[in-house]
Symmetry: D2
Subunit: 344 residues, 4 copies
């Protein structure tokens, strides 16, 4: 990759034209000065063209390989189904592109290692889509913790609840760990600076759709993590919270507690005969809109300036290691030490 000079235009290609891919594409096309959306790729017939047209993007492919081969593309943003991430990171690295990859970067530690190695070998930046790190509240919490405001964390909590479980038949096994809780695993590492997970115990079940339990659905989970600095953490997820999209965090240390998260959609509150009411956020793109934009702004700035990304392949691997340990814990019914994990 040739690093574009500071001030130079970054040309980006988006692989994956779904809901999140469209948002990222629009960010690259319109919301980031100094960045241009050069290409979109999606195997679904017409998807890439439709998105490219809407955003005035000159090129659209059904084959991601074509996008990776396009010399007009400096950087790729991978927003495809999770199982394809690691392979695309490798391919993009070989093609010499700067890489932004949505979470999870990989589903196995072996894949994660290969992806990291590929980027390293190619000397290209590799950033992973842990958007909470770019949320103003989470960032301020991390800064305060890193500055010692509450001392070394003792008890942490992170949770994610989606507003609606649409079609349980389409959810791959272990999704709750590899795609949902992966955010919380990263958030817990982010809020416990310098510490790494040591031991994991997980409980999970199909409580929202028990009729899918036999098909392997896990829609509700609680994970307990002991970190190597002693901190005890819980991560909690549900695929359906009828009140809306719910992301919260909490950190207790010897100097105090920080809490994170806001369920309210606006600052409007209603008081009626049945009490106080406020509307909740129902959509991740409402809650994290600014963070989604900020992470791509940071990524394109890395591409432009050559500085390394703030959220790396190693961060992706570390969060994945908790997910893999949680999966093994559910399978065995026992706690799992991170250092027991092979490259599964």
């Amino acid at each position: 990759m040739t690093t574009p000079g500071s001030g130079q235009l970054v040309t980006a290609g988006v692989i994956g034209a779904g809901r999140m891919g469209s948002f990222h594409a629009e960010t690259l096309a319109r919301r980031l000065p100094g960045t241009r959306l050069a290409a979109v790729a999606d195997p679904a017939p017409g998807a890439a063209h439709q998105l490219a047209d809407r955003l005035g993007c000159p090129r659209a492919f059904t084959d991601p390989g074509q996008l990776l081969a396009d010399p007009a593309v400096d950087a790729v943003v991978i927003v495809t189904p999770a199982r394809t991430h690691a392979g695309l990171v490798e391919a993009a690295a070989r093609a010499g592109k700067a890489i932004y990859c949505e979470k999870p970067m990989a589903l196995s530690l072996a894949d994660a290692d290969r992806a990291i190695d590929a980027a390293c070998q190619a000397g290209v930046p590799l950033q992973v889509g842990f958007n909470r790190r770019y949320d103003a509240g989470f960032r301020a919490a991390r800064d305060q913790i890193a500055a010692g405001a509450i001392g070394t964390p003792q008890l942490l909590r992170s949770l994610t609840r989606d507003p609606k479980l649409a079609d349980p038949a389409r959810i791959p096994p272990w999704t709750i760990f590899t795609e949902t809780l992966i955010h919380d695993f990263d958030a817990l590492r982010f809020l416990n600076p310098g510490a790494e997970p040591a031991e994991v115990f997980a409980l999970a079940d199909a409580l929202i759709r028990p009729d899918f339990r036999d098909r392997g659905l896990l829609d509700t989970a609680v994970v307990t993590i002991r970190f190597d600095n002693g901190a005890l953490a819980t991560a909690e997820a549900s695929f359906q919270a009828v009140y809306g999209y719910d992301v919260r965090g909490e950190v207790l240390g010897p100097g105090g507690m920080l809490t994170l998260g806001d369920l309210r959609a606006t600052h409007l509150t209603s008081y009626g005969p049945h009490g106080v009411t406020a509307g909740c956020v129902s959509y991740d793109q409402d809650l994290f809109r600014d963070a989604y934009i900020a992470e791509l702004a940071d990524f394109t700035d890395c591409v432009r300036t050559g500085r390394p990304p703030a959220v790396t392949g190693q961060d992706a691997r570390a969060a994945l290691s908790i997910a893999r340990a949680a999966i093994r814990s559910v399978t065995t019914g026992s706690p799992v030490r991170i250092d027991e994990l092979k490259d599964q």
Copy 2:
């Protein structure tokens, strides 16, 4: 009055066996160690007896004069209709009783002056029922302000909203000023220590029951007050807030702002498909239960120890002077200076 020694029993008589009188009677009978409910009086047939029976109180009268003449009564608690307060204070003072009188102590400044004089002449303590002064939040705010935490107040707000306007036909004219906002007028003085009102402008209307406007109902009011230390204040009242009983305050000074008030009935919050909900307080005796008890505890302690009350007849007069100015302002359509008021 003979001051009972410290540790001695205070015997109290309650005049008025309505909702609030019953609460005060129960407090005196059961909630205050060292205090005994010795008598109840109420002209309504059976009311005093029924209350006395329920509380194990030995004497019940239909004539308040009999209670005032009872040598077994050290202190009287006046919880009758407002128009009778000043006269009963005078009579109680002449009978040598320590006096607690519900707000408003009087409806005219002349009456207030006579009541104050009577208590002064008799050398009996006279305390007035501005219960907010005994609420933990209001008290903490006053203490912080008095300690200079936010500097000299610049902007203040106090509001009272009742949950339900039951029967507009039974509300005497000007009630919103003399019985409802009188609390806010006192609260504003309490939260602006040492300052006195200088000028008052009031707007009021029948917006809840416009069909009673012609009969003189005022159910909604806003009063603006300029204090002699420069502070500008608003007091606001409504006879019907469907969400519950609403009492709040706010004080801005050069060093910051304090806000007061909580509409929530408990710490339980519900999150459902329609958002976040919390139940509201619907009853003043829920919101101010502790304060109602604390003010009688303080009063009986004054009786027991001989120290002067914390909320005096002069406080009652000062709040009334704002109410009278507001009434004149509504009548004339112009702002009214407090020093223009005669003893009306």
Copy 3:
């Protein structure tokens, strides 16, 4: 003005390269697809050029007249000192430009009328910068009220407090009414749909900097307004709230209450030995960032589609009439009826 077709590019010129002008210029240059920043004008030497350079804008002028004469400019955004607004609106209208003017559009009713007439004569859209109307919370409140959720408003409140009074010597007289409270006057109209102000009483003083009272500074104000639908409203302003930028609203109707405003900068809350703490917003461009962008998006959409603006010159005039009445009320010490106002 030739209306650009739907989908066509809108080219905008910004007059005034100060803090807010720079923000609007950046919005036009970068944040709004389909809009281009074509020119900047500012009489301060170098200001326009510097801003134009930073944003890649092709033209910069020191004379606003040159910008107005530029045929490459479809629409002008006026962000100059308040006293120049009305004149620039007239000139822009004569030049056939679509007009967005920051509040207050005029300082006298006569000026407001001339500006409105000019835009009307020229057949150009005229939108005024009441940004709160574009804030998600205020808009949702208005929508609920217009839909009857709380019935006809009875009591309203709107307040604005700036975080810091920098240099009192540079503040023109009556600024608190014409530049600060003008937002609240508009917000109260917005939240009381269809109603118009009937009577105004105002108190104002120099409480933050009493040393500037003799020079005419008014830094603290409370305004009471009676609307023609009976609603009673207060608007309140302070030039210095040390805790941050504070904008709130409240509306009570027969069906309930709505409250608006959030002082918290993020969803991070700290709990330490001294209690619960959350950081406050210190800057209007933080609090209303999305609204500032949304109002220009709406304006450029009006330019593009030919539909009339949502916030009009008549809205500006109506808010100004309250400000003028408040000024007269402070001057005379009496309440002022809106229909008494001439074109002062």
Copy 4:
């Protein structure tokens, strides 16, 4: 025991004159009409006499056996160190007294069974001090859940944090489970009506005072519980939260979420240069004052009316079984099934 008729006086004896014993004694002496404090016992020299004197209680003993033998005592309230509870319950039962016992009723399941049997044999009521069941918020949550408002719970959380860890040397091993988290274990059962714990995994450590780890201190703990209705729960405790006494709960079900807990001491909020601040509760007797009184009111009512208590010895045993499983889980490093527990 002879059940006093409805309306009859209940005479109670308190065993244990410490902080909580004194509070309960004062409640029995002064806050509950129809109840009389007849005796106090405490082995510490002078403690019982001092408390009895202060409350006008006629009898004081150093030997609890004397109190139990006193025919003037209908009911005993056991507020002694935890290790003595079960034995005193047995003795009180044999003496035919109605029994209120502070939590934990026993430290081993065998002791719990003996205590329950003794009360059962003697035909005396046995109530246990899970005060959260008498808190208005917890009770309202339970009522809503029992009424189906959020459906069958899926994810629950309960936490307790004490404000200050005073002297780690005086804390018996496993205290965090048997004395602190026992409240949360009961609260989780209370908020998950009809369900029983099935499996427990616990992590615990000395993070506040790591210098006492070698002496067996556990000051921080996280417990994960799977209930037999599928619900997954976490209970979390810390012996030191510098911001105050912190008790919270959360329940997610298919119909929504309920949250419980309030850290704020009053409704006063301060806004200063460093943000928004509210004082926190620092003392359990502030947070649960009303609940502490309500549980004794309910207990004495059971004594008076003969109806069975709402919080039983079986409830105590069920919470203890979670504590015992958590202790074994910490010891073995593995999850523990409740049905594996013998009567340890």
